[in-house]
Each structure stands twice: as C-alpha cells, then as structure tokens.
Symmetry: C2
Subunit: 354 residues, 2 copies
C-alpha cells in the first residue's frame, strides 16, 4: 500500500439497480415511471437556444424554486433543490446530522441511509420494522442525533398516516426529522403542511418517479427557512452550480402540467391495484403499497428463483439478498401492457414449480 | 437557538460571481466562453427523444468517460466525471484529504479550496505566492496531507511549466497532489501524461471554459486507476446518478468537434493578447496569462473604482476586496467586439482620473 492511501476515505458504496443497455427489456427494477415526461419537454428541447449553454446556470435556481413553492403552497425560502433526491438527502445528512448521538432509521428501508452515514462518519442505529413491515412509533422516542425514513417506506411501499408521523416529529423537537417522500404522489398524503408547525422537519421529494424525469435529475426539500438556509450554505460550500440549464427548464414544465401529472399518477395507481390482485391470485403475498411498486413474496417459489427466471425472460425486477427481505421482490409498476407480460411470465414460472 | 441547531454543520459558503439576469450586459466576470457550444449541440436537442428522460441515466457515464479517455489518451479507468469541476474537486477533497496533516495551497488561488477544507474539516495551510504571483516550489516540500493548486493559477492566470510541477509531485509521493487545470486549454501544457508516472497525481479539467458548456455542468478528473476507484466509491456513496441524460450526450459532442474546439480556443488566445496590449497602453499592468482571463491593475485608478464604473456601463468584471489582490481586476476574455467595448469604457474611466 502506498503511503497516500492512508489518508483515503474508504467506503462501501451503494449499488443502484441494474441499468441494462438493451432496449428490448421490461424494466421494472428502479421505480422509474413508465410514461414519458410531459408534452412540453419535447417542445422545449426542439426550440431551445443552445447558445446559452455557454453560460453558467442560475445558482439559486430561482425559476424552479418558485415553481416548486407554488405547487407545494410554501414560500421559495422553504425550498432547496438538488440533483435528484439522493443529492438532497446526502446534503441534509451532511448538514444536520452532526451530533455524537446516533441517528435512527428502520432496519428495512432505503439502502442509501447507512451509506451516507458511513461516508460522513455519522453514528446510526437501525430500528426493526414490526412483522407487518410497519415502523413502530415507540422506537423513535430515545435520544438521537436525527431521524430519517421514507413514507411510503422503501422497498416495502408501506405507508404511514400523517398523524402518526406527526407524533414522531412532536417527540423529537431536539433533532432534525427527515421524511423522504420519493413515492408520496402514488396515493399518500404529504407531510409538507407540517413544516409550518415544526421548524425541524424536512420533507424530501423527487422528479424521478411521479414526474417521469429520472433522467433529468431533480430532487428537492421543503422545510423551515432556517433549515433551508443551513442546507443552502453547505450546498454553496460544495458546488455553486448544481442544476444545469436544461434540467432547470424541464423541471418547471413538469410542475406546470398538472393534468398530465394527475393522469399518469392515477393510471399507475390503478395498474398497481390490478397487478396486486393478479399477483395474489398467483399465490403471491403483497404488502399494501402506496407507491409505484409492489413488494411481494410467493408462498412456494423463492424470490431468488423468480428473479432469475424473470431475468431470463428479459424482465428486470429488484431483489436483495438481505436478512428479512431475501424472499421478497420489489416490482415497479409499468404500463398495463408491461404488467400483462410480467403476469404471463410469472404464471409460467410459478406453474413449473407447482 | 433551537437544540437541533447544535448539530448543524455551519460554514461560510463560496460566493460565485454575479449572474445578472439582464441579457444586455457584457459579462466578463465568471470566465465563461463567449462562443456558443459546438454546432452539434443544437441538433442533438432538436432531435432528442425526450421520452427517455423518464429513465435514470447510465450511472457509470460510459459514453462520456470513453470519449474523454480517447481525447486525453488514457484508459476509461483513468477517468472520473462529475457536475462541473467543482463537484469533482470537492469529491477529491473528501476522498483524499483525510490526514491530520494540513493540505497546502497558495494564498492567492481559487477561492473554493478553503471552503471545501472547512466544510469537510480538513486542516490546511496557505503558502504565499511570490511578488510576481508565482508559486514557489520550496513551499511545497514540508510534510502535508495533500497539495492542490490550479495551473494556470486563478485568478492570476499565471502558468507554471510542467517540468516545474513535476518537481513538486516527485517530492510529495506520500500524499495526493491535485492539479486543477480548468484553464489549461488556453495556451498551457497539461500534466495529464504524468499520471502514468505518478499514481498520486490527479488532474482536473472542465467543460465550462474551453468547451463552452458552463450551463451543462461537466467536469472530470484524470488519475491512476487506484485514485479513480477511490473517488468513484465515494461518489457512489453520495449520489449514483449525477450527470443527467442530456449533459452526458452534449459532453460527447463537444469532445468530438475538435476543429471547433481548436478554433475557439485559438481565437480566445489571440483576443487575449490583443486586449493585453491595449490594456497596457491604457496604463494597466497585466500578468502574463495562459488562461481565458487577464488579471490587471491600473497605475493610478483603483480597481474598486474601475469595477464600479464598468458596472455603471453594464460591463461586469470580477473584483475581490481581499489582501494583496484588492487593486486587481479579473477580466474574462470575450469576443473581439465585447473587448472593444470594454477598452472604450476603460479609456473613458481612466481619462476622467488623469
């Protein structure tokens, strides 16, 4: 080992879901939206004056921040934007979790939380979900350096009512509580209105799921002016110009097209419910999901086996070989057509084993 | 103060140059390229299939990495890409500067270095440039946790020969040495070939200056496979998908259009030399620059005064009210036409004072 290696920050990085390069696959493994972005996106690109790409973007992202504030019914000072919600969450960890006390999050949750804690040397403790994969309020009453969990939770899709979340926030006024609402638009109710009551609450959302813009990279946080100011200071200490000029414009368009947003999220919800019924009739047990995915296990065929068999048929879903969830699959909701193909493939796979 | 505020990371952020919202200004304050991006950019956007923005981008940025490797004559394993060179440099600080020994950089240099050191709790020591604003090799021989400086240096534009830089790298094999080459394409010679000799050398470049893509946000680092692997691990522990789909494509186009790149960088160099002669004839003292800007002070009119007078005439340059450089202006090289207007304005301003 070279001497300089002694000073290197060593980490075990997060592994994202596979991004197969082929286009003839059914991709139900990274919770992308099966519908294209709003109509305006295409027109924007067609008519874009590419000359202005020579100039830095607006570091304050004013237009996009204003559009988010309008949709969320908050002030621009309550909004922080970043490169996807991962950037926003990572920045929040770095900004707010500087205590010696551990931060708390569920044992089964978004698998980036412990990675961020590691990279920023933040102590943490995980709290086991109950046997129904629910977050237990009483686990979040001990002294802590912060709390974070998704609602709906990932990869389970299980939703917690706002009034239950409020109890956790109320009991933890001495640390920052982050609610990661990446999947809130598929049937849940957002905690955003609570930011006016609790200055230590940060709510994070993304354009990657319900706004069909995973490839554009936009996420944001909503919180009290104080929280947002602290995050912005850290952001401006790392990279002044995060969002590029095109993403800033595309984001505004996505927010303005409310009809399309409502139509596509509703469509995904109805496809989800239909798929859930079909899966159950094939012998799957599905958690109640308020997200754009279903977390399911089969009564007799192992998740690992189904995962491999689907892959052979060029259908990608997500599987984790981890304690407690190693017999579950996370299946993103695609179009009705994609889900029909999935169901056909599963019928075959399950029948072979019976 | 609320109790949660105790855990907050507090920093004094970097202040970027003004980004005036008006379009009828002459903007010579943030070292942007006055020429538009390559011709292909416009066509790409016009014909872009916006449907694919619903999908996450390639987290490995393979196409862009391959294109950079080709242009730089290195392997893809030697390339790391990020959201502008600020993102890349910040990630390098976080990854490599984990020693208790201070990192070293010049007292007059890119003003983000001390900000990154602060945000990541990295101890640092600054080394004064000599009276000609040159980096003194002997300052970089003491034990350290890392070394970083731009070549050409900012905001001076002063260039250091590669063989001189190699002496510094050779004397510092126990820590990572970062050469920030944001401005290397305007007449300097890159240190990239040295990465084959020194596995602790990281060279950082950007698309924001010579490639006319400040608004697209692409920067990259070139280094040994080991260095790049360590950085990638940290990157994948923070945000898997940094570069959006459009920026990934635009970057490839910029690299492919070698003719346009050569033509525009040469043009900027010749405008710089002409402007320098004109400034000198107006009583300015200009440092020898190998960048796309000139660092100048006037023999009788104060920099602060000139800065304000130019602003009144809607010409923006950069001024820092900081020790040793508070009588200098940093003037970005624009088009010939823009520089003519600058010179006219300066003639007026300087004449008033005589």
């Amino acid at each position: 080992m070279e001497k300089w290696e002694e000073y290197v920050r060593r980490v075990v990085p997060y592994t994202p879901g596979e991004q197969p390069k082929e286009t003839d696959v059914i991709k139900l493994n990274t919770n992308e939206n099966p519908y294209p972005p709003c109509e305006g996106a295409k027109k924007l690109l067609e008519n874009y004056n590419s000359d202005d790409l020579k100039l830095y973007p607006d570091p304050a992202c004013t237009e996009l921040v204003d559009a988010i504030a309008k949709v969320q019914n908050v002030k621009p000072e309550n909004v922080f934007v970043g490169i996807g919600s991962d950037d926003v969450l990572s920045m929040a960890f770095l900004t707010f979790f500087g205590s010696d006390k551990p931060i708390l999050f569920p044992d089964i949750t978004y698998s980036f939380y412990d990675v961020w804690a590691d990279v920023y040397n933040i102590p943490y403790k995980t709290k086991p979900l109950d046997e129904d994969f629910e977050i237990k309020n009483e686990d979040y009453l001990e002294p802590n350096g912060g709390i974070v969990f998704p609602n709906p939770n990932a990869p389970t899709g299980v939703y917690k009512e706002t009034q239950e979340i409020e109890k956790i926030i109320k009991a933890n006024k001495d640390s920052v509580v982050i609610i990661d609402e990446a999947y809130i638009d598929f049937g849940g109710q957002s905690c955003v209105p609570l930011i006016n009551k609790y200055d230590n609450l940060l709510v994070v959302q993304t354009f990657s799921k319900s706004r069909s813009m995973a490839g554009v990279r936009i996420g944001y946080a909503i919180g009290s002016e104080q929280l947002i100011k602290f995050m912005s200071d850290v952001k401006f200490s790392i990279n002044s110009y995060t969002l590029n000029r095109l993403s800033l414009k595309l984001g505004v368009l996505a927010l303005e097209d409310t009809d399309y947003f409502n139509k596509t999220t509703q469509k995904i919800i109805s496809t989800r419910e239909k798929t859930k019924t079909q899966l159950e009739s094939l012998g799957f047990n599905c958690l109640e999901s308020k997200s754009n995915f279903i977390f399911a296990s089969h009564k007799s065929v192992s998740a690992a086996k189904i995962f491999e068999e689907l892959k052979k048929r060029r259908i990608f879903v997500r599987y984790w070989n981890k304690p407690r969830i190693d017999n579950h699959l996370r299946i993103t909701i695609g179009t009705d057509e994609q889900m029909e193909k999935l169901i056909c493939a599963l019928e075959e796979i399950v029948a072979c084993e019976d």
